[in-house]
């Protein structure tokens, strides 16, 4: 499971173009066609958000925590960690709409569904090989890679810094 890729964010590469948000909503639409999806009812909803921080703009989405506060806070078992994928899954049938998960999430990425009183969260686009937000990012600020790949990339960056000095 450690070898499974997850979404990593490189905030210094984010241009704030919101393409990931658009792609996310599209991936969660019925028609999967941009021209048609924008006229769907209910409107497709995005699961990630580009926020402007102190100096950076950066996409923020569910980190799929290993010990997720949302799961711990959920009294009805609507949120749970799938042992095979280690992703935090959501079952609407079990949800009692108490919003404990939303309050517990440190990242603010469990959002209310605009159509009903339930919630919406990132599911890593199970139908796609790579989550739609990652594919859509034109500047590679979002990447779908294993932890090992991410860490190695960081180390290589640092080693290059040493050489430059």
């Amino acid at each position: 499971m450690k070898n499974q890729p997850r979404i990593f964010v490189y905030p210094d590469r984010c241009l704030g173009c919101h393409s990931c948000e658009l792609a996310c909503a599209l991936a969660h639409s019925k028609t999967k066609s941009l021209a048609a999806a924008i006229y769907e009812k209910p409107k497709p909803q995005r699961r990630l958000f580009v926020e402007t921080g102190h100096e950076f703009r950066t996409p923020i989405h569910c980190r799929q925590c290993e010990d997720p506060p949302c799961v711990r806070a959920c009294p009805s078992g609507a949120l749970f960690v799938d042992p095979s994928t280690l992703l935090v899954h959501y079952r609407e049938q079990r949800c009692i709409s108490c919003f404990m998960c939303a309050m517990a999430c440190p990242f603010g990425v469990i959002r209310s569904d605009t159509e009903n009183r339930f919630i919406v969260k990132c599911d890593y686009c199970p139908e796609l090989d790579t989550p739609a937000c990652v594919t859509a990012c034109p500047s590679r600020a979002l990447r779908f890679e294993t932890e090992a790949e991410y860490e190695r990339g960081r180390r290589q960056l640092v080693s290059r810094l040493y050489w430059d000095q």
Binding site: H18, E21, L22, A23, I38, K43, P138
Partner: protein, 630 residues
């Protein structure tokens, strides 16, 4: 290495597939590779929902309704989409019209005797136009008339008119409608300039008003800039007459110096054609070990010299890099428009010399030689000599001319069509009213790597002619049809029985080549003449237009002037307006009431053919002619 299926997905043409394979082997990047690298395209921009007109922004509207619904200035979806589309029209109209202006400058200098090598090839057309523009012709020589006519044309570009002179070629009903809608074009530059003004922050913020002006801006191109470009080209270089030629990469010759002419304006290429026939240069070629000098065209410069001189044409827009990849091109000369800035880098992999020729169009990795009417003849000679010298630098191991050329017929100007018909449009009208020909469709426009290369054009056109619909074509579409073998009289066997009979009787192909993309105005003038002969408006005629593979801003302007002139137009790729429901509704429905024609979007050419067919049958019924329903 690219798989066979990948190659077939990119283009239907054999020469295209073979050259793409060579590109892959030679490790040369092409437009398809760059297209893939750009995926996915920005959704905001595709929908027309991003605005860069000022730096309170840039702004985007969230089409899913969660994010902002207004730009910083307060412009909503409709305003932003309309402003963006308006600016596309302005850019397209500017391109065609500036092309026209360059020709007017040559006409003036020919009149003043300052353009050696150029001449008035059609004095008949010069005198006709002079009369149309109120220039005195009696007892005056061509040069004097040319100067006065050039003056009149220049006036058309300005702001001192109430209406463009050539707009009066449109049927009276159409002009009355333009007056009523207040979209009669007043000056060519004026409408483009006003569009840039209106779409500045804080000017026109009624989306309908912006779009109406968009139609006026496009009309200033169709009945102004482009029309001047075509007419002056005919005066200077001759009215096209039916001519036999050949098409595809096979027109390049292994044992000759290959010079390729690419771009849009015939001013430079006509001089190259002359220079390549000069005896001293031809014998220089022979002494350099080659059999002669072979000229080949690409894109619309290719169409211009094909229509008038029968110069063979190597390919259309998406084939421009592939022509260089043959390794057989000694020199490519470009003027302007649709010339990919990547060409210089592609040429650098071979021995090809790349020459840019216009002060307003310079490119990386090209040698710049500025042509003026004064120096063109001499500069053309110098460059053709350089091309000849370059023959010995050709690398035989890198050369591959992939296929045998296909025969084609070109040169169907209105004058040529009328003379094929025996001097009057009546036989054509009879064929249409009698139902042998159901109607006519202009299949025009570009190539676009979004669409499988040439598939849209060829599929649509084959479907249309099989339904007895006559196809007239221009631009890259025309080259696609020619490559597919549809521009020979024998292609009539692919047409329905009625069209087949008419083509057989006249000895013409079922798909008539009317020229380059500015020459779309020939279709307008023909439509106006038919409408006038029937005492109807253009929108009453059983005709339509289609741009199955369009990509450029010029195509947007063309589509808009076609619709504003009453010709319903079916686009392959959708223009960036889908973000606004209101704009889409106006374009696809509302315009019917206003101008009697609409836009439609249909990327599947078979479905587009069905759409066009039912439109034509509906128009036939409207005229009281027999109408098929299927």
């Amino acid at each position: 290495m690219l798989k066979r299926e990948e190659l077939q997905k990119r283009t239907i043409t054999e020469d295209g597939q073979l050259m793409l394979r060579k590109a892959d082997r030679d490790q040369v990047e092409t437009v398809w590779d760059r297209y893939e690298a750009q995926q996915p395209h920005c959704g905001f921009c595709e929908l027309g929902l991003s605005c860069r007109n000022c730096i309170m922004g840039p702004c985007r509207i969230d089409p899913f309704g969660e994010g902002p619904q207004q730009g910083v200035c307060g412009a909503d979806t409709d305003i932003i989409v309309a402003r963006n589309f308006g600016r596309m029209i302005a850019a397209g109209a500017a391109a065609h019209s500036d092309h026209g202006r360059d020709l007017v400058e040559v006409l003036r200098q020919v009149g003043e005797g300052k353009a050696p090598g150029y001449e008035i090839r059609s004095e008949e057309k010069l005198r006709l136009l002079a009369t149309e523009f109120g220039v005195r012709v009696d007892g005056r020589d061509a040069q004097e008339i040319a100067v006065d006519l050039a003056n009149e044309f220049e006036e058309e570009f300005g702001t001192r008119k109430k209406g463009l002179t050539m707009a009066f070629r449109a049927p009276e009903k159409r002009r009355a409608l333009w007056e009523k809608l207040k979209i009669m074009p007043r000056g060519i530059d004026r409408e483009t300039s006003e569009m840039m003004h209106r779409t500045h922050m804080g000017v026109d913020n009624d989306w309908q008003s912006i779009l109406l002006h968009g139609l006026r801006n496009a009309l200033s191109d169709g009945w102004g800039g482009s029309m001047i470009a075509t007419e002056v080209s005919d005066i200077l270089f001759g009215i096209p007459q039916p001519v036999q030629s050949q098409v595809n990469m096979g027109v390049l010759k292994e044992d000759q110096v290959n010079i390729v002419l690419h771009g849009h304006n015939p001013i430079v290429s006509e001089m190259i054609v002359q220079a390549a026939q000069d005896d001293d240069i031809v014998s220089l070629a022979r002494t350099n070990g080659c059999k002669g000098i072979n000229l080949a065209g690409l894109c619309c410069t290719g169409n211009e010299v094909l229509m008038r001189r029968g110069i063979p044409i190597a390919g259309n827009h998406l084939m421009t890099e592939l022509a260089l990849i043959t390794g057989a091109v000694e020199m490519m000369l470009v003027d302007y428009q649709c010339i990919m800035p990547a060409l210089g880098s592609v040429a650098a992999c071979y021995h090809t010399k790349m020459i840019s020729t216009s002060d307003k169009a310079q490119f990386p990795k090209m040698e710049h030689h500025e042509f003026t009417p004064g120096n063109a003849r001499e500069l053309a000679r110098k460059l053709v000599k350089e091309a000849v010298e370059n023959f010995k630098r050709r690398i035989p191991g890198k050369m591959n001319i992939p296929v045998e050329p296909v025969n084609m017929m070109s040169g169907f100007s209105i004058e040529a069509i009328l003379s094929a018909l025996g001097g009057t449009p009546q036989p054509l009208i009879d064929a249409i009213t009698g139902g042998k020909i159901r109607g006519a469709v202009g299949v025009v426009g570009c190539n676009n790597p979004r669409i499988r290369h040439d598939y849209g054009h060829v599929t649509l056109t084959k479907e249309l002619i099989s339904k007895d619909i006559l196809v007239v074509d221009t631009g890259c579409a025309a080259i696609a049809h020619a490559k597919a073998g549809l521009k020979v009289p024998e292609a009539a066997k692919e047409a329905g029985p009625g069209l087949q009979e008419v083509c057989g009787a006249l000895g013409i192909p079922p798909v008539l080549h009317m020229g380059s993309c500015v020459d779309n105005v020939r279709i307008l003038v023909l439509a106006a003449a038919l409408a006038n002969a029937l005492d109807k408006d253009i929108s009453d005629l059983p005709m339509a237009a289609s741009a199955p593979e369009w990509y450029s801003e010029k195509a947007v302007s063309i589509a808009c002037y076609a619709v504003a002139s009453g010709i319903t137009t079916v686009l392959g790729p959708a223009p960036p307006i889908l973000g606004s429901k209101n704009v889409v509704k106006l374009a696809t429905e509302g315009l019917e009431k206003a101008v009697g024609a609409t836009f439609a979007v249909e990327p599947d050419p078979e479905k587009a053919a069905a759409l066009i067919n039912s439109h034509i049958e509906k128009k036939r019924a409207g005229l009281g002619l027999d109408s098929r329903s299927d």
